[in-house]
């Protein structure tokens, strides 16, 4: 594909040299800027506390202490916090799918009366900066209107607000809009009701968009900090991020760094496994934030 630099310029001897130099520099900068910090964190966790506190820092650990990771796991009770985070993120994911998919389907294919008003009211919430609702949503969560439930310290305090996601509904509706109505008509003639049509026809062909919404949901929930910080005052119920921030000052640095590395692993693994969907979600997500 033709880009800024013409292919012929690249083929010339001078072009080849310039390209080589630029490529090498870019590679070096990328390794230094993006790989080295991760190397530094992982090897930092492997150093002894004395070595970690020494000035100047060492590039390669003099002594290796792989047991720090095991120490971090037990000292920080990482198992419990992993489970908490998993429950919070997994539930947020399921809630978003279970609530937003039928809603988007109804708005896209059943087109009820006032459907456009409902969609408009939902999309209008996209104009609110997320944090502008922080305080009133917190107040609401402490005492739900009519029900008078207090969701503080319950994972539902994350799950339910996560499902009120206009962007998901917008993405899904846009995808459903492209599914030809003939397909649904055919299902109807075969005697399938709307719910059955959604389950058996729409969902199987919507796998790409469901993957994008799922990944966005899990990554957002896993990375979130300020909302879990507010709704999980009970230290036993906190997510990894909130816990790490809470213990950061008191923990020996090597244990803390090992904990940070372990807490990041699931997201890095997820990225390596679902690169394609994540990058697709990124371009879809760019029209949001």
């Amino acid at each position: 594909m033709r880009t800024l630099v013409s292919p012929s310029a690249l083929r010339s001897p001078r072009g080849k040299v310039v390209y080589g130099v630029v490529f090498a520099c870019t590679l070096a900068i990328f390794i230094l800027a993006f790989m080295f910090p991760l190397y530094w964190a992982i090897t930092g966790a492997l150093k002894s506390p004395q070595e970690l506190a020494a000035t100047p820092a060492t590039l390669v650990p003099h002594e290796w202490h792989p047991e720090t990771f095991a120490d971090a796991w037990s000292q920080l009770s990482l198992g419990k916090y992993f489970l908490n985070t998993l429950v919070v993120a997994g539930g947020a994911w399921l809630a978003q799918l279970a609530i937003d998919v039928p809603a988007a389907f109804a708005l896209s294919k059943l087109r009820p009366k006032f459907g456009n008003v409902v969609l408009g009211l939902m999309l209008a919430t996209l104009m609110l900066p997320a944090t502008a609702l922080l305080v009133p949503t917190y107040v609401t969560v402490t005492d739900l209107p009519l029900l008078h439930l207090n969701l503080i310290n319950s994972p539902t305090a994350v799950w339910l607000p996560a499902a009120a996601n206009a962007f998901n509904i917008y993405l899904l509706k846009r995808f459903f809009d492209q599914i030809p109505d003939e397909l649904i008509e055919a299902a109807r003639i075969d005697g399938a009701g709307p719910v059955r049509t959604l389950w058996r026809i729409i969902l199987p062909i919507s796998r790409p968009i469901l993957a994008v919404v799922s990944i966005l949901a899990v990554v957002t929930a896993w990375k979130d900090f300020i909302w879990p910080l507010l709704v999980f005052p009970d230290t036993e119920k906190q997510t990894l991020s909130v816990m790490l921030q809470r213990v950061a000052i008191d923990m020996p640095l090597n244990v803390l760094v090992a904990g940070m590395v372990l807490a990041s692993l699931p997201m890095v693994a997820l990225f390596l496994a679902f690169q394609r969907q994540i990058l697709a979600g990124l371009t879809a997500g760019s029209i949001k934030g």
């Binding site: 790989m35 809603a103 009820p112 939902m122 922080l134 339910l160 709307p194 300020i226």
Partner: protein, 324 residues
């Protein structure tokens, strides 16, 4: 939003084709069955919508109203809230930190735009020309985006440590004096911007890269035939062709960076000398340290007013793009 649709599509249970061949029914009967069908269809639709309507009502629409009300109330959660008019706003304007927080936030946003805008764009232009190890570059630049922001913030706090931190060790190794980074009010904010740029540039870079990929190659060819050098091609082809994406991400970045919280909260706590107290950090203090939800809501309202324009503009732009 949705295109006008034919009335036959409105009917869910039966279509004109399935009606064909049946014995003739009276006009009246047909109208009644159509009405019944419509009601049934609307009931199904709202049945599927009800969960979404409940969560939106509870966690979006109601809090919007509640937020506006709270801004004008005194709330202590013991006594019933009392109406205090603009007292909460007056209180904010009397707080010397209020102005500081806005100044700091604008500084953060400004600096984040300089770095967070130029660096990813130039990186994307560069990566678009590179023909080898493309997958590695994409992976590397996006990896920090996947790290939990708290981990990034804690990690960089340690890198910035004036003692055994990475930066001062590296500077010391080449014989340069170290900096105070987070511990000096002159550099603290800049250090936070640097972290935020590092952590978030992956997504913007890849979005720019995707936009660059859609530029027709003939445009560059034609420009080159007209004698346009590298810079002129960048200026007259690349820029105009990516203008829309640049604008969208500009708005998005303004909205996102004005709400910065995690970095100052985790890395500096607002210090030194309040040099990194941001609007959201102050809002957090009002609500969750001073327990003054009225003033905190007033602050949210001001933040919303400040950002609403950009958000509205952004939503309009993306919808327009979606329609075309």
């Amino acid at each position: 939003m949705s295109s006008p649709r034919s009335s036959s599509l409105l009917a869910w249970p039966a279509t004109s084709s399935s009606r064909a061949g049946r014995p003739a029914v009276s006009q009246e009967d047909r109208r009644r069955t159509r009405l019944k069908r419509k009601i049934k269809e609307n009931l199904t639709a709202y049945g599927l919508l009800c969960a979404a309507l409940v969560v939106f009502a509870l966690f979006s629409w109601y809090p919007i109203v509640r937020g506006v009300l709270l801004s004008f109330q005194q709330v202590d959660f013991v006594n019933a809230p009392t109406w205090v008019g603009f007292d909460n706003f007056a209180k904010l304007f009397e707080d010397p930190l209020f102005g500081v927080a806005w100044r700091n936030t604008l500084l953060f946003t400004g600096l984040a735009l300089v770095f967070g805008f130029a660096v990813p764009f130039l990186t994307a232009v560069l990566l678009n020309e590179i023909r080898h190890a493309k997958a590695f570059f994409r992976l590397a630049v996006y990896l920090p985006v996947m790290l939990p922001p708290v981990v990034t913030a804690l990690m960089w706090k340690w890198f910035y440590d004036p003692g055994p931190g990475l930066f001062n060790s590296a500077l010391g190794a080449v014989g340069l004096p170290g900096g105070q980074w987070l511990d000096s009010s002159g550099t603290a904010m800049l250090s936070l911007v640097f972290v935020s740029t590092w952590a978030n540039m992956g997504s913007t870079t890849l979005i720019y890269l995707a936009a660059l990929g859609t530029i027709p190659g003939e445009l560059y060819e034609a420009a080159e035939l007209d004698g346009a050098g590298l810079w002129k091609r960048l200026r007259h082809v690349t820029f105009p062709q990516t203008r829309f994406v640049l604008l969208v991400l500009l708005l998005l970045q303004i909205v996102a960076t004005m709400q910065v919280f995690t970095e100052p909260y985790v890395m500096t706590g607002g210090g030194p000398d309040d040099s990194t107290v941001t609007v959201l950090l102050l809002l957090y203090r009002y609500a969750f340290v001073y327990n003054d939800f009225g003033a905190a809501s007033a602050m949210s309202l001001l933040l919303f007013v400040a950002l609403g324009v950009f958000s509205a503009w952004y939503v309009r732009l993306t919808r327009k793009a979606d329609q075309s």
